[in-house]
């Protein structure tokens, strides 16, 4: 610094002296400028609404700040890492979303080694599912586990495998989905909590759960058999309805016929009674005459039209018996 820059004369001599400034002074000036820029720009930071800011002092954790603009000690004293704590992250297992084709349909690719799992009854099933999680504790998320996303993926994969191994293939393919999702979710959470990973599992959703292609047709066969079973049962029910309704009708008919018979019988009897009452009224007036009259009346109608032989008791009746039906006129 022998030929120092004369600060006193600076304003007046500025233009004249500029050419004579030493290179070292220019470098120092640039340095100062850069340092000021670094200090200013690293003293402020913004945390978005869905984020948390994790502030470290010389690498050691200091504090967590919420959304907004904040100040901190400039670099390299304090640094900040931002983690999204609202965003629901999604991990795909058994498949990956590759992108979209020209028509806008989403293309997936299978990951066979991830999706092949074995059930309790030693059946192989292919399970594709997604896991949704959010960061619950940003400092734990940043500091405790190396590669947290891959850890969550493997934990989820392992947990699903464990849960599938506890269920039968029928549960897995049909009724047990809800329970499997819940069990898997709980298991993932408990393992991640053991690692103190700082995430909360929001949901586990089974996507496609299928038998392997090699045995698909046999599973379809079962489906068809189930339909056939329903069909058979429906046939039975149809028969039931038909037969029971018909029987009800018939039973009703039998009862009504009996009632008709009863009424008929009673009415006939009543008729007979009133007829008798009529005759009786005459009878009590003069018994013998009435009796004879009735007798003759009836005998007339009985004997009127029929073949008859009126014989004296002295006649041998054998002749009639021998002759059979041959008429003999006496």
């Amino acid at each position: 610094m022998e030929d120092r820059f004369d600060w006193e004369k600076f304003p007046e001599d500025q233009v004249r002296r500029l050419g004579k400034v030493k290179p070292s002074s220019i470098i120092i000036g640039i340095f100062i400028g850069i340092i000021i820029i670094i200090i200013l720009s690293s003293s402020f930071y913004t945390v978005n609404t869905d984020e948390a800011g994790v502030v470290k002092t010389f690498g050691a954790f200091s504090r967590i700040t919420g959304p907004g603009i904040h100040t901190k000690w400039f670099w390299p004293i304090q640094t900040v890492e931002k983690v999204s704590v609202e965003k629901v992250n999604r991990i795909e297992i058994g498949f990956r979303t590759v992108g979209k084709d020209n028509a806008g349909n989403i293309i997936y690719s299978d990951i066979p080694e991830e999706k092949t799992m074995v059930t309790r009854d030693e059946n192989i099933v292919e399970v594709e599912f997604i896991v949704q999680y959010i960061v619950r504790d940003p400092s734990a998320y940043l500091f405790n586990v190396d590669n947290p996303i891959e850890t969550i993926r493997k934990t989820s994969w392992s947990a699903m495998r464990t849960v599938i191994a506890g269920n039968t293939v029928d549960d897995v393919l049909t009724i047990g989905k809800e329970a499997i999702q819940n069990q898997t979710k709980d298991l993932i959470q408990s393992v991640l909590d053991r690692y103190n990973c700082g995430v909360r599992v929001v949901a586990v959703q089974l996507q496609d759960v299928d038998p392997p292609a090699q045995v698909k047709s046999a599973f379809d066969e079962v489906q068809k058999a189930k339909e056939k079973m329903d069909q058979l049962v429906n046939e039975g029910k149809r028969y039931y309805n038909q037969v029971v309704l018909e029987a009800q009708g018939e039973a009703y008919k039998i009862l009504k016929e009996a009632e008709a018979y009863k009424i008929q019988k009673i009415n006939l009897a009543k008729g007979e009674v009133s007829r008798f009452e009529e005759v009786y009224r005459q009878y009590v007036k003069e018994k013998n005459i009435a009796k004879k009259q009735i007798y003759l009346d009836r005998m007339r109608s009985i004997l009127a039209g029929i073949n008859k032989y009126i014989v004296d008791p002295s006649v041998n009746l054998n002749i009639f018996l021998q002759e059979g039906k041959t008429k003999v006129i006496k």
């Binding site: 340095f31 470290k56 010389f58 690498g59 050691a60 074995v118 030693e122 059946n123 192989i124 940043l142 500091f143 586990v145 190396d146 850890t151 934990t155 464990t162 191994a165 506890g166 690692y195 038998p211 392997p212 046999a218 599973f219 066969e221 079962v222 068809k224 058999a225 056939k228 079973m229 058979l232 029910k237 039931y240 038909q242 037969v243 029971v244 029987a247 018939e250 039973a251 009703y252 009996a258 018979y261 019988k265 009673i266 006939l268 009897a269 009543k270 008798f276 005759v279 009786y280 003759l296 005998m299 109608s301 029929i306 073949n307 032989y309 009126i310 014989v311 004296d312 008791p313 009639f320």
Partner: protein
């Protein structure tokens, strides 16, 4: 004025130098890091506290290691079960560097750790898998990993490592067994399909039998009722007639007999021989005599 400027400038340069050359006598540990300080290869300090630390320039070396839970993962491996079946096991382990000084002396790097874990985890896994049958392992859930963890708890501290977890990603049938598994699955399914159909038929027959039973019940009950009703009718009819006939039984019987004769003596099938002494023809005889 000139002097002050000079002092300020000097301080500034010194600060700048401190910042630029702080690596010579200071070291910084992140929240996720730990370090072993060595002086000419000899360990003088293990530092697990994040933040700044001091070291002697040039002669001290700072060896930093992660404090995080690290992952060890390998390719799927074949193991033999108790029932002498081969099984594909795919697993991963979670561990952390617990004693960085031991780790530095015996392992040095994460690659080194992987090599050690390759040997140690695999042999523990093979040993534990050999104690169980294939189906036990496939359904065995956490048992085997937990046994492996126990084994590793004894073995890994020697390397400054601490086992955190071992988990199966896959326990699967080997390729050559898969075909027979598929065959079995198919057979099971077809059996199940047959069962559904048989069950449907059984159900159908049962429902039909129910219907037939209900029909028989309804009809026979109706017949029973019917007989009762008919009997009632008959009983009422008889009692009506009885009451009427009781007034003059002799008349009633005469009428009844005559009615009966009327019904049984028919023009078509009856020839009748009547005595002249019979009531109706008595008069006829009397006339003859006279």
């Amino acid at each position: 004025m000139k002097t002050i400027n000079r002092i300020e400038f000097t301080i500034f340069i010194v600060l700048l130098a401190l910042i630029i050359f702080r690596g010579l006598f200071l070291y910084q540990l992140d929240q996720t890091e730990q370090a072993v300080i060595t002086r000419f290869g000899r360990i003088i300090k293990v530092d697990k506290t994040p933040g700044l630390g001091f070291k002697a320039p040039f002669i001290d070396t700072v060896n930093k290691f992660s404090k995080k839970i690290l992952e060890y993962d390998t390719n799927p491996q074949v193991a033999v079960t108790k029932d002498k079946k081969t099984i594909i096991v795919d697993y991963y382990a979670k561990y952390r560097i617990e004693a960085p000084d031991k780790f530095l002396q015996r392992v040095r790097t994460q690659q080194g750790a992987n090599t050690i874990l390759d040997d140690v985890v695999y042999s523990a896994m093979r040993k534990e898998v050999g104690k169980y049958t294939l189906s036990q392992i496939i359904m065995g859930r956490e048992e085997i990993p937990n046994l492996v963890i126990n084994d590793l708890k004894a073995l890994l501290p020697e390397y400054g490592l601490e086992i955190v977890d071992v988990r199966f990603k896959t326990t699967n049938f080997p390729q050559e067994v898969q075909a027979s598994v598929f065959e079995r699955m198919k057979a099971e399914r077809l059996q199940m399909a047959q069962k559904y159909i048989s069950e449907g038929e059984k159900e159908k027959i049962a429902i039909m039998a129910d219907a037939d039973k209900i029909k028989a019940e309804l009809i026979s009950k109706a017949n029973m009722e019917s007989q009762k009703i008919k009997g009632e009718g008959e009983s009422i009819a008889v009692s009506l007639i009885q009451n009427a006939y009781a007034k003059a039984p002799e008349l009633a019987f005469m009428i009844k007999y005559l009615e009966t004769y009327g019904e049984i003596i028919k023009k078509e099938d009856t020839n009748i021989i009547i005595s002249t002494k019979s009531d109706i023809f008595k008069i006829l005889q009397d006339m003859e005599i006279r």
